[in-house]
Symmetry: C2
DNA sequence: AGTGAAGTTGACGTGAACGTAAGGGATACG
DNA sequence: CGTATCCCTTACGTTCACGTCAACTTCACT
């Protein structure tokens, strides 16, 4: 299976980001594409990481937060202490995410109610003509 | 029932924000406290709005996004067209929020799995001594 | 009238997350 | 060999969401 590489442009098209963004993420150590001479080539691993970065951003995590999360996704050869530390960190993050989802659920219900009320208002205004004639 | 006002400092203490933040939100038309002379006094309405602002921020919405959301929370005396427009807007936001929650659910499950795997690694490393002596 | 605490308006500073040129290499094609 | 097309680095500019500091009022006391 011949590792299928993508150029920076192909990445941009595939994930709807700019080259600047990919280079920026690399500078922040979120990505580390291989080099063919001076050019960047992105592997399957980088694509997976980018997906996680973009997802994390939608949750409101900072790039630094995301970097730490990513670092525990490939706990490549570390010692026990580091793994345990990473595990603790992940636990906190998980707590954050769960709290966030719970809040989001509440907000969704709120907005739904508000919209139901809005629907009624609209219905009453469209059926019984109140002020303006048609 | 005598509308219970809060000073800016009381607001800051209650919601853990700085005065600068409250004034900034006011400049962005997210809040509009009444004035007693030159000083700001915050009503129940402002407190509710602030809560929504802080919640929205945790979801990764920009202040401008939040302002639009707030504007449909108090659809105070508008015409039908405006209400309908607001309703459409709310529908889009609601879609965003639901999508966001779904993604968050996936991410949570992902992280949970990753952590389970991490737990196993830790367990195996703590029971059978591998490299380092104790 | 003096002093201090709390509040006000500017105005400039800051960190995060990129945008936007400016100028230079490498590779392919006619 | 020219030039067209990507790509690269360097570096300064920008937007958002405030932080920070300066220079006043305003109010409550004493």
């Amino acid at each position: 299976m011949p590792e299928h590489y993508l150029t920076i442009r192909q990445m941009c098209d595939a994930y709807d980001v700019t080259p600047r963004t990919l280079r920026f993420y690399e500078a922040k150590e979120l990505l580390s594409p291989v080099r063919q001479g001076t050019r960047r080539l992105y592997t399957r691993r980088e694509r997976a990481r980018l997906k996680l970065v973009l997802r994390g951003k939608r949750f409101g995590f900072s790039l630094e937060d995301i970097r730490q999360l990513l670092d525990l996704y490939d706990t490549s050869g570390q010692n026990l202490a580091q793994i345990q530390r990473a595990h603790e960190l992940a636990k906190e993050r998980l707590g954050d995410m769960i709290r966030q989802r719970d809040e989001l659920t509440v907000a969704i219900d709120d907005l739904r109610q508000q919209m139901d009320w809005g629907s009624e208002v609209i219905a009453s205004l469209t059926s019984t003509s109140t002020s303006a004639a048609e």
